[in-house]
């Protein structure tokens, strides 16, 4: 059976463009607004949704996503509620892939088997778990694949050709290339170097390669989209959420549109990439 992730990347490839992968944190700035943002993303031009699961100690994230996670936790968001969000989203959208992105501890504490069953039932398509390298595949990756969920692996600038096959071995859905050695939302990558790295990974796998970390503007997105199958934007979107909040940190009438306006601009950037080239 073709998965939602496979179908979506096949469709964008058929259109001759990269997919726009948008990251938002579940429950940021509150559960209801977060659901409204999720529902509005596909219409604004998001092809794949990465939904961040908030965690107190996000070791691979920069300040923007750290703060988004803390806003969500302060509002009572949890892994259980994150699955609620996915379920509610799926009532109106059966096609847009949703990949949960986060850290292992909340999943481990939930219980791997019950989490996988509940995530699948809620309509989750794949998982990105930052602190589970291939050396720990038995923890979650292999059970997830068995349960019919994609396990999207991060490949990084430090993943050399010797290590790459091990990283790709149990990867499914797509490969997420981390454009910089660093945390999310900080440095801007060197686009030529990234293009070379994407080509290197594509020599080892038939899976789509999406690129993220440090992609902030439509121009960045366009530059990445020339050679990659997907462009991931996260910190810039959660920054847009933050910028729309009132003095007490609550959502305003502008919160959803602050995100969707940026997504629309990014989507235009992605679509322009290969036309211009």
């Amino acid at each position: 059976m073709t998965t939602r992730i496979d179908a979506r990347f096949a469709a964008t490839a058929a259109e001759g463009r990269a997919a726009l992968v948008t990251f938002v944190t579940a429950g940021d700035p509150d559960h209801a607004t977060s659901l409204a943002i999720l529902k509005a993303l596909p219409g604004a031009g998001a092809d794949v949704i990465e939904l961040g699961v908030p965690f107190t100690d996000p070791m691979a994230d920069g300040p923007a996503i750290q703060q988004a996670g803390l806003r969500a936790l302060a509002g009572g968001e949890s892994l259980v509620k994150t699955l609620d969000l996915v379920r509610a989203f799926r009532e109106g959208d059966g096609a847009t892939p949703i990949v949960l992105m986060g850290y292992y501890n909340p999943i481990y504490v939930y219980g791997v088997e019950s989490f996988l069953a509940d995530a699948k039932a809620a309509g989750v398509d794949g998982l990105i778990v930052v602190d589970l390298p291939p050396e720990e595949d038995e923890e979650l990756c292999l059970p997830a694949l068995k349960a019919g969920l994609a396990f999207v692996r991060l490949a990084t600038p430090t993943t050399n050709d010797v290590r790459l096959p091990a990283v790709l071995q149990n990867t499914s859905g797509f490969v997420y290339y981390v454009s910089i050695a660093g945390v999310t939302g900080t440095a801007t990558p060197d686009f030529d170097v990234v293009a070379g790295a994407v080509q290197r990974i594509k020599r080892h796998t038939a899976l789509p390669v999406a690129v993220g970390f440090g992609v902030k503007t439509p121009e960045h997105a366009a530059a990445i989209a020339k050679g990659a199958d997907g462009v991931v934007v996260g910190s810039a979107l959660v920054d847009a959420v933050r910028g729309s909040l009132d003095a007490e940190g609550h959502a305003t009438a502008k919160t959803v549109s602050a995100v969707t306006d940026l997504v629309a601009a990014l989507a235009a950037g992605v679509r322009s990439a290969r036309v211009a080239a």
Binding site: L132, E136, A155
Partner: protein, 410 residues
């Protein structure tokens, strides 16, 4: 003690063979890190395995231990404390007499010598009480390496003397403003720095936690404490001690004392966690109040809520104020080889005063937690019982904080 599936299995022939090739102690430990760090961690493991087999590495370490740190540290019979308690014969392993004032330097020396072998020019570290930060800044000064120490902003405020020492030694101290601004957040920030500067940076972890190979490697560097204790006790009493006791935050001073004795079945071993305001209130006792989870590269007991969100520890001692514990301790607890107790803030402050008055030794607040349980256990034991407590650090750094608690302004 908690029930565990591990105890249902046969006990191993030796308690000293871990970790396995995956970095596990039973179910604990592992390598739960971002892919960016994985190649470096594998390189570090290979480098450490090579160094372990290299006599030149051991010779270099032995020389600096003797001439720079001032080892061996004395094993000292605490005569007046023993008289006062009226039971077991109490010995102090005097790690507070090491250069820089705590056991931390034992580990830092090993890691800095490794960093030099690997050609790294920049060293980062996290610190809670500042003892590990000071030790790292010291060795970096000695070898001319750049040193950046991450320290929670709350700890920067409560451990001002150590912050100044680190700066004097040429280190950059970065006050960490994220999260609860204590040791856990300092470790997050150090990991973020490491991911960002992975090519030239060596991460000098201060305790027996983090991803494999750190827990086993740091333990090996700290085991000099227990190795010396074995020899010294044989010389002084002609036999092994009957019990060992040490405070446990991450647990490096404790495992350093315990590890060489794990297979001596007649030696009772006690770790002392920080119970803070008490086990029913805010505390930092991960085994007493936590559950297995995954944080900072390893699986271990953690303080967390039902959603797996990490909770803030609380201890009067910045060095014990961490919501986790080294994975080997988690395993030793489950298999029942080490018994983990806890001491409250109040008990630690009383012990701090008691040891100062009776022995003329001001202990670190961390070590005072172990002393507090000596005060409880020793009177219940016969007079020929030999008890060794690890006096892991000296208390100079804590004097301003204790003075304030006791209502004295300095």
């Amino acid at each position: 003690m908690k029930a565990s599936s591990v105890t249902e299995h046969a006990l191993p022939n030796s308690f000293r063979t871990g970790p396995d090739e995956r970095g596990r102690f039973g179910i604990y430990g592992g390598r739960f890190v971002a892919e960016t760090l994985m190649p470096l961690i594998l390189e570090l493991e290979a480098e450490y395995e090579a160094a372990k087999k290299d006599p030149a590495f051991h010779a270099e370490m032995a020389s600096y231990r003797t001439h720079y740190i001032g080892r061996p540290s004395p094993l000292y019979f605490a005569e007046r404390l023993t008289e006062h308690l009226g039971g077991a014969k109490v010995y102090l392993k005097r790690e507070e007499l090491n250069h820089t004032g705590s056991h931390k330097v034992n580990n830092v020396l090993g890691q800095i010598l490794l960093a030099r072998r690997m050609g790294k020019k920049r060293v980062i570290a996290e610190t809670g009480a500042g003892q590990h930060g000071v030790a790292t800044a010291t060795l970096c000064a000695r070898f001319g390496l750049e040193c950046v120490v991450f320290m929670g902003a709350v700890d920067v405020a409560r451990q001002a003397p150590n912050v100044f020492r680190m700066k004097m030694l040429g280190a950059t101290v970065v006050p960490v403003q994220s999260g609860a601004k204590t040791l856990k957040d300092a470790m997050n920030e150090a990991l973020r720095d490491w991911v960002t500067n992975v090519a030239d940076t060596f991460y000098c972890i201060g305790t027996v936690a983090g991803p494999h190979p750190y827990p086993g490697m740091v333990r090996d560097f700290q085991s000099v404490i227990g190795d010396e204790t074995r020899v010294q006790m044989q010389e002084m009493e002609g036999r092994l001690p009957d019990s060992l006791i040490a405070c446990v935050g991450g647990g490096s001073n404790a495992i350093g004392l315990f590890h060489p004795f794990l297979d001596d079945a007649d030696v009772a071993i006690y770790g002392v966690e920080a119970a803070g305001f008490g086990l029913s209130g805010l505390n930092a006792a991960s085994i007493a109040g936590g559950r297995p989870g995954v944080l900072h590269g390893n699986r271990t007991y953690l303080l967390m809520d039902k959603d797996g969100q990490i909770e803030e520890g609380h201890s009067i001692s910045a060095g014990l104020d961490y919501p986790g514990i080294g994975p080997e301790h988690a395993w030793l607890n489950d298999i029942g080889r080490v018994k983990y107790l806890s001491a409250t803030d109040d008990e630690a402050v009383s012990a701090f005063q008691l040891l100062s008055k009776l022995e003329g030794i001001i202990p670190a607040l961390e070590s005072a937690h172990a002393i507090a349980k000596v005060v409880e256990l020793a009177p219940t034991l016969p007079k020929d019982h030999l008890m060794v407590v690890n006096l892991s650090g000296r208390g100079d750094k804590d004097v301003p904080q204790v003075a304030e608690l006791l209502g004295t302004s300095l």
